[in-house]
Symmetry: C2
Subunit: 152 residues, 2 copies
DNA sequence: TTTAATGCAAAAGATTTGCAACATG
DNA sequence: CATGTTGCAAATCTTTTGCATTAAA
C-alpha cells in the first residue's frame, strides 16, 4: 500500500517548509528518515525505519531515528499508533483517516470516510477538552489471519 | 472516575467464572490484580497496578503482574490502550466505549455513545477482515492542560 | 498429590541520555 | 563561525524468561 509520487513530493515539501519555518536544521538524516516514513503506507516502528534508512546512510544511529521521529510527532508531521506490546509505530499520513487493526497479527489498514471525519463531538467529550482530531478504529481478524485459522 | 460497588461486584464475578470455566487457577494474586484494574476508571500501566497491589500483597512481583495482565487481555477480560511512549495501559471496561485522549499529558476520559457503537462498517473495511469491535477516539488538549497553557 | 502459578534474578527489548565530534545555516 | 545535530556508548526503563519453590484444585 504505497503512496503516489505526487503525494510523496507534497509531503516532503510540507516537511521541509515546516522545519525551515521553525528554524530546525534540515539535515541529511532528517530528510531520509521523514522520506522513509512518508513513502510507505505500512506503519513501521523505529527499528524498521532505522534499517531502511541505514541502506542509504550506513552510519546513521538508532537514537537519531528516535529523536527525529518524536520531533516530527511533536510538530504534527507524523502521528503514532500504539498497537502492539511495547512498540510504537509511526504514520506520516496526517490527513484525517481511520484504521482497521488485526487483533492477531497487528496488521493495520487505513481507510477514508468523510462521514467519520464529520462525526459530531458529544457533549460529554466537549467537557473533557478541546477536540482536535477524531479517529475511528475497527478491530478484528484480518483476512489473512482468518484464512490461516480455517486451514488448521 | 471510579466504578460503582455493583459494577465492581459484577466484574469480579465475570472474572472468576471465566477463569474457573477455563481451568485457570484462581490465585490470590490474580484476584487482587484483576480487582485493582476493575475498580478504577483511570487506565493504569503495569507499574501502577503493581504498586497498588503491593500494598495488599507485599511479596508480589512485577512479572506476575505482567503475566496476569496479558492473560486477562488474551481472555478478553480487560483491554489495552497504547497511548504513551513505550508503555501499555490497561482497561477493565470491556463494554463498548470510546475515549478522549489528551495529546499533551496522556490523560484518558471514557464516554459512551450508542450512535458510535452502531456506526456502519464501510465496505473498504469489510474487505480487510471481520470487524469485532469499533472504537472512536478524540484527541486534543484536556481542560487541565489548556488552562495551564493560558497561564503561561 | 499433581500441575499450574509464583517469586526471584537475570535477560531481553525498547528508548533515552551525556558528551565530544561534526555539519548546517 | 556559532549553534544545533549526530554518533557512540552507556544508561534507563519496560517487559519477558528460566527455574526452583509454593499453592490451588
Amino acid at each position: 500500500m504505497d503512496i503516489t509520487r505526487e503525494e510523496l513530493q507534497s509531503r516532503m515539501e510540507r516537511f521541509e517548509e515546516a522545519l525551515r519555518s521553525s528554524g530546525i536544521k534540515l539535515t541529511h538524516q532528517r530528510i531520509e528518515i521523514f522520506r522513509e516514513v512518508a513513502k510507505t503506507g505500512d506503519h513501521p516502528d523505529a527499528e524498521k525505519i532505522y534499517k531502511r534508512v541505514k541502506k542509504r546512510i550506513p552510519t546513521i544511529s538508532l537514537d537519531t531515528v528516535y529523536r527525529t521521529l518524536w520531533m516530527l510527532n511533536d510538530m504534527g508531521l507524523i502521528t503514532t499508533l500504539g498497537l502492539q506490546r511495547g512498540r510504537v509505530r509511526f504514520d506520516a499520513n496526517v490527513s484525517p483517516h481511520h484504521h482497521f487493526v488485526c487483533a492477531r497479527c497487528g496488521r493495520v489498514g487505513d481507510f477514508y470516510s468523510q462521514d467519520f471525519d464529520d462525526l459530531e463531538v458529544p457533549e460529554a467529550v466537549r467537557s473533557m477538552g478541546d477536540v482536535a482530531t477524531i479517529h475511528v478504529q475497527f478491530r478484528g481478524l484480518c483476512s489473512r489471519c482468518s484464512e490461516n485459522n480455517r486451514r488448521k
